[in-house]
């Protein structure tokens, strides 16, 4: 009896292994992280850049089709480079550009805007960098395209011609 059970058991086991390997072959093994599109924007309290009035993020992102959140600082050299693209975008009607002034000195930041033009519809302060963390930003500059309170595109690093075109396409 024992001798019969053993082979049957073996065959059964190996058949299962075969089946599992066979099925496993058809699965793709390339791991693709879930695309983090359509993330809700964070909620935070902050101060307006010029007036230092307290505002909540709900009051900022209301009323327009698209928002472009740009995290910038006057000490950040790539921010200077990308500034002209923001100025370009500020001419577009259906998009509001929001600046997040990151760990900056007020006078320097103001001079920055006087020298290079101010493309922002609104600027708020992020003096200790905590709001940038809320956004999941890695550094400056970083830009988020927002539609209906959701982030539809995230750009790490400065903007360029190609990205500018892409943003224009997305906000058609």
């Amino acid at each position: 009896m024992k001798t019969k059970i053993f082979p049957i058991f073996l065959i059964f086991t190996f058949s299962i292994i075969f089946f599992v390997f066979y099925k496993g072959l058809q699965n793709t093994n390339v791991y693709t992280p879930a695309i983090k599109s359509e993330i809700e924007i964070p909620n935070f309290d902050t101060e307006e850049f010029f007036s230092k009035d307290k505002i909540n993020s709900d009051q900022i992102f209301i009323g327009s089709d698209y928002y472009l959140l740009n995290i910038w600082a006057s000490w950040c050299i790539p921010c200077k480079e990308e500034h002209k693209y923001l100025v370009d975008l500020s001419k577009k009607e259906n998009i509001k550009i929001i600046g997040q002034n990151y760990k900056d000195n007020f006078d320097n930041a103001k001079n920055f805007l006087i020298n290079l033009d101010n493309p922002y519809d609104l600027i708020f302060l992020d003096n200790d960098g905590t709001i940038a963390i809320e956004w999941g930003a890695y550094g400056v500059p970083e830009t988020f395209l927002i539609q209906n309170n959701k982030i539809i595109k995230k750009i790490i690093g400065p903007l360029n011609e190609k990205l500018l075109f892409e943003i224009k396409e997305l906000t058609q």
Binding site: F6, I11, V20, F21, L25, Q26, N27, N29, G157
Partner: protein
Amino acid sequence: MSSLIGYYSLIFGVGVSILVIFFSIKNFNDTQKLDTKVISLVFLQLLFVIISFSGLILSFVNSDFSNETVFNHSHTTKPLFYKIAGTWGNHEGSLLLWLLVLTLFIFVFLLRSKNQPKQYKILTLLFQQIIIVGFFIFLIQTSNPFNHVFPVPKEGLGLNPILQDPALAIHPPILYLGYVGTSIIFSSALAAVCSNNITKMWASHIKKWVLVSWIFLTLGILLGSIWAYYELGWGGFWFWDPVENVSLMPWFALTTLLHCVLVLEKKLILTSWVVVLSIATFTLSMCGTFLVRSGILNSVHTFANDPERGLYILIFLFILIFLSFLIFLIFHKSENNNSKTFYLLSKETSILVNNWFMMYFLSVVLIGTIYPIFLEVISSQKISVGPPFFNKLILPFLIPFMLAMAIGPKLKWIKSDIEDKIYLILFFVVSLILSVLIIRNLDINFLYNTILITAAFYLFFITLRDFFQRKYRNLSQITAHFSFSILILSILFNNIFSSEVITNLKINETYQAQSLKINFESIEQENKQNFKAIRGKFIVEDQSGLIEVMQPELRIYNQPNIVTSEADIKTNIFTDKFMTMNYVQNQDYFNIRYQVKPFMIWIWISTILLCFSGCLSLVRKKYEN
């Protein structure tokens, strides 16, 4: 041209296989001696495979991009050494290498086994031919290394830069000698079962093959590990990656088999163990090939995700498994002489203890490797099984394992008593005190680590004493167990005493910690044949004021365009200092990783010593009591 010759040689090789099978079957019952025709045919087959392989090497050397394999894996600016190594740095070429080793081994086997019974030899040849034909078809059907590209491209795509490393260039051939060597053991064990030839003589004859495979497999794993340490740049030598695991599993099986064969050679017991392990070793090697090549697991060794290939190996693998188990169940007669009872204190028992421990380690690694596949198929959950799993399940069991390893070899056959009890106890106390002194001031689990290190020290001292005493004149066994104890000790100390600093530095900046100062002095560029090197210069000053200049490198390869990080490693007999640097995107900073890893070199030395002990056993005429 060379591709064409290579391709037709392959076709001829299959033809010769059929002839070999035909003549061996004819020869099976007629004459007393093995027909020389058969041996000549096997040689012819080997010759065809050699021609084919040389053809592929030649295509690589000449950068003949009309060959698809060459086009995909080579580039004109690659140094000659890596052009040649590129031959087996890809799926097709490595399978051709596999085939080469298969045919080479069966030829050597026939030459070296003159005194064995004829029918046994023919059966071995037949089983081996089944495997060879299987691989021929696999090669020609699904992974032909000689596919033509038209129009002929001007330039190849290049070899993955992380594979351009001396250790890795010789790693595949050496490892294959180990893997494929197990095919001879497999065929020979099946043949021995069929022809009822499991004798002491067979054991001493197959022992040589077991040893040869074992030595090459050990060396191959070592080389892979060295490569990972020097090239992958995160300072470890073993990651419990599926690919490493699939090489470790045959190693466990082979090591167990080695011990069993040694017993069989003396006592004609454990025959079932020997046969099953012979089958298992080769099956595990094949299973490894399947897991890595089919793309069912993701790793550096997955050259291409082609389900057709995976399916072929899978079916082939299971045919071999079912065939071998069928033969085992039908032909195998387990030894009936139960008069030889196993006494608790005897060499037989200690070998059995070794077997069961090895089987346990093997199962842990097996489950850890294939369980994620099972889970994904059955419940479509993705999990990853990492080092914590293996460390928790394997390390504690090393304690009794090493104690048994120290005492086991001292026992005699059938029934014995432990001699020198005083010494055994004395050494244990010494090891215990030593470990307590080492572990006492450290911030780790005291009891667990102390016992673990005690066991390792114990094995170390006992084997060291045996070595000087020469009372048990089995030098290879003592060396093997001794080097294993050094291996475990150095791995443990390496784990416990390693320290690491990760920081971002700009040029001219200094990182300062309590016991360490790293100064980023300068950076220089250099253009090499197929890459651009960016070399940082760091001055590392430690507590005692010892200054070391470290120069890690970033290599930007031109084809394919990949950046690799070359660690700078300063080695001495006590400790390794290891530094890598990496770009931080869009910033002037470099990410610096500095590690101090004690006893690193001893991991390599002890493994080489382990291989050496295998060689010792190979050249010694007889296994002594």
